[in-house]
Point group: C2
Chain length 421, copies 2
Amino acid sequence: MVPPVRRSPSRDDVSERSLHGGDLSVLRRLNSAATLRELRDGGESTLSGLARRVGLSRPTTEGVLGDLIGRGLVAEVAPRPGSGLGRPARRYRFRAEAGHALGVEIDAHHVRLLVTDLSGEAVGGHRASLDTHARPDARISAVRAAVKACLAEAGIDRRSLRAVAAGTPGVVGPDGTVTRCAAVPGWEGVALGRELGRSFACPVLVENDANLAALAERWRGAARAADDVVCVHAGLHTGAGALIGGRLHRGRWGAAGEIGMLPELGLRDTTVVLISGAGPGPGAAGAELAGLASAGPALEDAARVLAAAGRRDPDALRAVDRLAARMSRGVAAMALALDPEMIVVGGPLVGAGAPLVESLRRHVLPLCLSPVRIEASRLGDEAIGLGAVRLALDRIDEDLFRVDRAPAATDPPAATEPAGR
Amino acid sequence: MVPPVRRSPSRDDVSERSLHGGDLSVLRRLNSAATLRELRDGGESTLSGLARRVGLSRPTTEGVLGDLIGRGLVAEVAPRPGSGLGRPARRYRFRAEAGHALGVEIDAHHVRLLVTDLSGEAVGGHRASLDTHARPDARISAVRAAVKACLAEAGIDRRSLRAVAAGTPGVVGPDGTVTRCAAVPGWEGVALGRELGRSFACPVLVENDANLAALAERWRGAARAADDVVCVHAGLHTGAGALIGGRLHRGRWGAAGEIGMLPELGLRDTTVVLISGAGPGPGAAGAELAGLASAGPALEDAARVLAAAGRRDPDALRAVDRLAARMSRGVAAMALALDPEMIVVGGPLVGAGAPLVESLRRHVLPLCLSPVRIEASRLGDEAIGLGAVRLALDRIDEDLFRVDRAPAATDPPAATEPAGR
């Protein structure tokens, strides 16, 4: 009468199911992926050093390297001068320049772009202002122009892009459509993934901006060692993204982290609260606030208050503390729902420095059950672009390292390269 | 200057890293695990049928079956009468009776136990009342006595247990200690995993009750087809558990889902609200409420209100609706934080049937961004014990199907069994 056991998916399942047949071509792909990864992450190597590091025989490693060179992913480099007799051993390296990833941040006021090679090393970037009230098609045209300028400045062929990821405020559905968006006028309902996809031959991904900030914090920010992380992106409104088990948690409809929808949790109109609470702060904003200030009057005023708080102006500190007290319910709700090991607070309202995060610690921790760490982001306004690049690189890695089928057809044709460049 | 790329963990990583060496003993374990799984999930089979289903050669399958029979996990069964000439083919089956899983639910008022075989088929169960104000050592002694009675009634040798899991209200730390618990007097700080571990030679796991309810709903309840699920366990207080990607999300300190800590979200003292809102309901509770009613005066009164609401008594329906309106903030907060595909509402306050869930749908959905399904649990007061068994079975599966090392030392010695029993 009792139905049969339903198995929970497990990692073992995957390997077992894809491999139990002892399929030799799968083994070959495993060997190839392991060798490529070792060269990418462990640095260049001789044939025998690589064989030892990967745990394969010399002949197998030689065959694998031949394949990888043929796919343009590995190159021979000039041998180091030998210390003894005979020819020095040949050396091999990962060709990070075999492809590129493009990250795009689109919000109401700006488009920011970042291009990296396959190692995640930045090779270009570009920024442009957007008209807040531009219609969606004009906004997308401006993004296309910015992409063109970015690639031209960096001297990168568009065909070299292996994946593109774009970040936007709002809820992004699984198909890349912006299903909800209060922050960008007219943006709701735009099929952003499809629209941008027309400009590229490679996969194009679209993701919520706070989610991308979370990826960036884990990659190169405050959350490098953490698997379960909530990232709070404090801006005109305040959104949140979460990493669970080291992976982005998007939710069924891409709407995870939108806890700010409950008004009693204090995450809506955060900037307005800051301004109305404190009145205009004194003097001009600091240089680090230039980006924030250019984003519109509300953020400009908020920037003044934050700058004053950074200078320990008592009125401004009180205003920031009032904002933190209000936001604390929403931040605590995310912490109680997910019990993360770390909360990283970023976004325009944190750009100015410590006061907001110090106040948040004071207000949020008493509401929590666990001693969660609350840290300020140090990625500034690069977080979302960086997260977009990480998402694109993850997509590229899926193709480079997958072992359950042959290499992707998007691999470029065999490249030849003189050794020792 | 840019640090090297940090790889996100991926499933491919695991298979690739554990297997790239082409380790033959790993292949053998993969073959063994795949064969065992096929027999367990696909039913008994002849040698050649099994070889075909798993994709191995006959000789390999024969060798694997020999190993599995030696480990007591597979048995030969009587051949079916042949339709043609010659001897009918031998048949093999998974020995579900090769071990057992025990699930234990402990709360302020009861201990409930469920024992299954390795297929998750129930083979025993037991219930006992607990003194609400018993000290922790007396409570644990009563649990031990209940385990003893349960095993004796089912005729199961304690040594046959391969894993035990216990559920309790409160926050359970990674080491099995109850770190927070308002519902069971004196329970906070009890090292429940260690205490119960003394009674068993197998692994003993401890988990929050709402988390176990979530596992149960996915295994045999309303959430069978869902990967991202929030389970709301409505009782004296209301807790929540979440499955993300089909796996239980416990959080860094085991406190995920404790969103009820924020009083403005309306999940605390839910029973009290129901009673004070409605006044004592009319007449005696229905038979289905007996378990609820025996749990204490507060739940007893709540049971009366719920029974009356089930009979469509207008006052009681209004009281239930007021409770749903209050709880809706907390339920919506979980939905907004995680964007699950489904919310399952269970626990004593749902035992009576539809009214609470109907009201919750009306109040929660307008607060959400996504068309999340809200369903009533149909597992009644078995949910937590069932979830505990699922957790124990998952632990057993880890040993049975893991491929990255030799079979666990806990495997029983080779068992012999006459064919065709």
